[in-house]
């Protein structure tokens, strides 16, 4: 074969290839023009999906909904023209349409064919959009090599915009959806999970164990309040329908401070809207009784509340535990108040209590411990005084529908730790108590790391699991979940209700829980300084929950990781239905009885800055009381 023949052959092949390509495009163009009503719908659907960042499934579902229109049309046709002659109608209408190529004629044809064109066009748009996503992400589509990156970034922005719009709609993200699901917010992107416009979780997810990690200001509290209110609403609705127990929500706000009071107020307003009748804020407004706990558990708790140390201090720790057990489990019954307990840490009292002739060993122990009793009494007197009266007054967790407990973890860490232990123990007691009706419980600890020094988070989880109560824990970072890497993994990996990750600087360990997915990666060959049309495609592994995306999450955006998949969501601010607003409760007439000792409120921080104007009292000093001003 001569060079000239070879050149002609190559040129012929090139022309043939281009000819086929041109013919293919021409055929597509002819089909698009011929089926123009379908093309119009498909083009509109494709443009909407591109502009709003919808996944193809959104178009498929829209196509499925429009089948109702088709069914109605077929039924109407069958009624007017029986005998399945209806099948000829679209063709007839389409054929007639070509004779009326005016605006009104085209609109008339479209209206006649809409029952067929809508489902077909939307399904076609879904298919084309799916192919486009596939082609661009695998490197087959796009002009430049960076097309997949630019495409993904653009779609991410649009998905966020759409999700924000949905989250802002009043009826799109209520506190409770159908089927007892808790709506969280508009879905930004689902990777591995089934896509829905609004991410919802079954209320049962909250009755298992859930972890929420996010830096300060990332929207963690909003998310938690939404989950609480959603769980409360769902459980209340189930209880009213006779399908479950009444809810009892116990929130431990472990950081405390002014923000905690505001969060408590917001939570309370939401819970009232959700049907709660009694929401108690502890220790500001309501109190609990530590001494209700069964004696054996109370003895262990009181022992754990004191930091007894290790090593050489083990001797003292053993002594402490023995004395506490003797004081609490005395034959006359457990102490009923702090003062009663402190009174028992006395050699005379212990000897008298156990010296009944039936407890010789215990009486001997009481005598042996006599010289340590003043020290132990002093330590407990100090601790219980610092704990204040909020754990030493009549009050039970099941008296209310929800408790918002504020622990000053950042101001008085040791006290807050002791309070957290006591409240957790009271929750466990309420969950296992046979008095009264059983309750569906959710124990939520916000920023638990602030008090987790002596009660590791994993203990809280394991206790919750064994007692059948849901535990929800939040931390500001991966490191805040536990003291050691092992403990952190134990907490995160056992969160069978899912893990929410908000903006946090080190999301990799949590993102790893979602695992990786298989993706196609295409490499293009560079020819003469340009991207050629040759290359290779290979299978790669990519994060399901991309840590870089998690790091870039804005305020109120979260990544929900569950069962090896991830969904990015724009969390909607929880708001109760305006229709559920209740008027303020009427003032209750004072009930005669023993006077209530007021609980001291939290120390308020001194106001910064000078007083803008003399107070009214100081004006009285100047002008005299009741003087005209």
């Amino acid at each position: 074969m001569s060079v000239w023949t070879w050149l002609k052959f190559v040129t012929f092949l090139w022309l043939l290839r281009k000819g086929f390509k041109l013919a293919r495009w021409l055929l597509v163009a002819v089909a698009a023009v011929a089926a123009w009503p379908v093309t119009v719908v498909a083009g509109t659907g494709y443009a909407a999906a591109w502009l709003r960042g919808w996944p193809p499934v959104r178009l498929y579902r829209a196509a499925a909904w429009t089948l109702i229109v088709t069914a109605a049309w077929l039924a109407a046709l069958e009624a007017s023209d029986p005998g399945f002659l209806a099948a000829r109608q679209p063709g007839r209408a389409w054929g007639m349409g070509w004779d009326q190529l005016t605006m009104a004629g085209l609109a008339r044809t479209f209206a006649l064919l809409a029952p067929v064109a809508l489902p077909a066009g939307l399904a076609l748009a879904g298919l084309i959009w799916a192919w486009r996503i596939y082609a661009v992400t695998t490197g087959l589509g796009g002009i430049r090599a960076s097309a997949p990156i630019a495409f993904d970034r653009r779609q991410w922005r649009r998905q966020i915009r759409t999700a924000k719009g949905l989250a802002a709609a009043p009826g799109a993200v209520p506190l409770l959806a159908r089927g007892g699901h808790i709506p969280i917010g508009g879905t930004i992107r689902a990777v591995g999970h089934r896509w829905h416009p609004v991410l919802t979780l079954p209320a049962t997810a909250c009755t298992r164990h859930m972890v929420i990690v996010g830096a300060t200001g990332s929207g963690k509290t909003n998310l938690m309040i939404r989950l609480w209110a959603g769980w409360f609403t769902a459980t209340t609705a189930a209880a009213r329908a006779g399908r479950g127990d009444r809810p009892l929500l116990v929130v431990l706000d472990c950081k405390g401070g002014r923000d905690a009071r505001r969060k408590a107020d917001r939570t309370r307003r939401l819970l009232y809207g959700a049907g709660a009748r009694r929401v108690a804020v502890w220790p500001d407004e309501a109190r609990l009784c530590l001494w209700d706990i069964p004696p054996d558990d109370l003895a262990v708790l009181l022992y754990q509340m004191i930091d007894s140390g290790t090593g050489a201090a083990a001797y003292y720790a053993d002594m402490l535990q023995a004395v506490i057990t003797l004081a609490v489990t005395a034959p006359c019954g457990p102490p009923l108040s702090t003062q009663a307990f402190l009174d028992r840490l006395n050699a005379t009292w212990l000897a008298g209590a156990w010296n009944d002739g039936r407890h010789l060993a215990e009486a001997e122990h009481a005598r042996a411990a006599a010289r340590h009793l003043p020290d132990i009494q002093l330590r407990y007197a100090t601790l219980l005084r610092r704990l204040g009266p909020a754990l030493d007054s009549p009050g039970r967790l099941d008296d209310a529908d929800a408790w918002y407990c504020i622990l000053e973890g950042t101001r008085e860490r040791s006290v807050a730790e002791a309070q957290a232990m006591a409240l957790t123990e009271l929750a466990a007691y309420t969950a296992t108590s046979l008095d009264g009706k059983p309750r569906a419980m959710l124990l939520a600890a916000d920023d638990y790391s602030a008090v987790s020094g002596r009660v590791p988070l994993s203990n809280l989880y394991e206790r919750g699991r064994s007692l059948g109560i849901g535990v929800q824990v939040s931390a500001q970072s991966w490191e805040g979940l536990g003291a050691t890497e092992d403990e952190r993994y134990r907490i995160a990996a056992t969160a069978d209700g899912g893990v929410f990750v908000l903006n946090t600087p080190h999301p990799e360990p949590l993102a790893a829980l979602a695992g990786k997915r298989r993706v196609l990666e295409t490499a293009h060959r560079i020819i003469g300084g340009a991207w050629g049309d040759e290359g290779t495609t290979r299978e790669q592994r990519a994060w399901a929950a991309d840590p870089d995306l998690v790091r870039r999450l804005d305020v109120g955006q979260a990544c929900y990781i569950h069962r090896g998949a991830a969904t990015f969501v724009q969390v909607a601010r929880p708001r109760p239905s305006p229709l559920s607003l209740m008027p303020p409760p009427a003032p209750v007439a004072p009930v005669p009885g023993p006077p209530v000792v007021p609980v001291p409120g939290p120390r308020s921080e001194p106001a910064s800055g000078p007083d803008p104007w003399p107070s009214l009292a100081s004006l009285d000093d100047i002008f005299g009381p009741e003087s005209p001003r």
């Binding site: 909904w65 006649l112 009826g171 305020v555 239905s577 305006p578 104007w613």
Partner: protein
């Protein structure tokens, strides 16, 4: 719920939760520089104090979102509640069998408390297109199907513009 005056107004800022730290700080600095009591003209103590208090409230994203939420609540979006420290023993009322029918009676209130303007625009579009369909293809089997489709579109997309029902 805070009962303080509008902190956004005190700093001359728009009532938005998405303001940046820099915007808030710049607004406070501008007011503080103009009203500080150490100024030769004596400044404006009341305004300076109000701006300082507002800055303390708005300087974090959380504070801004809370202040914004409180303003929205004060405007009537939120529930009116008061603390209930006194606890009585009543239980929530049981579900009634005719609850679904009662839900229909809530629709007007849900429209009023939702986004009525958007809903009206959506309704006008659907009604306009339905009229066009009736004008173009009167009496054909496609006409009721098209109008049914428009109603379906209105119902499915308009739901999110309604306020949630009272039990949600």
């Amino acid at each position: 719920m805070t009962t303080t005056p509008n902190p956004f107004e005190a700093l001359g800022l728009p009532e938005r939760p998405d303001l940046t730290d820099e915007q808030v700080r710049a607004a406070w600095r501008a007011i503080a520089a103009a009203t500080h009591p150490d100024r030769p003209d004596g400044g404006d103590m009341a305004r300076y104090t109000a701006a300082s208090a507002a800055y303390a409230e708005l300087r974090t994203p959380w504070g801004r979102s809370e202040a914004f939420a409180d303003l929205a609540d004060q405007a009537g979006d939120g529930p009116a509640t008061a603390p209930i420290p006194v606890i009585s023993g009543e239980e929530p009322p049981p579900a009634l069998p005719w609850q679904p029918l009662l839900a229909l009676t809530q629709v007007p209130a849900r429209i009023r408390s939702g986004r009525p303007l958007r809903l009206a625009i959506r309704g006008l579009i659907a009604a306009g297109l339905a009229l066009v369909v009736l004008q173009l293809i009167p009496g054909t089997p496609a006409a009721p199907a098209d109008i049914g489709g428009l109603i379906l579109w209105f119902v499915l997309t308009g739901r999110k513009d309604l306020a949630p029902p009272s039990d949600r």
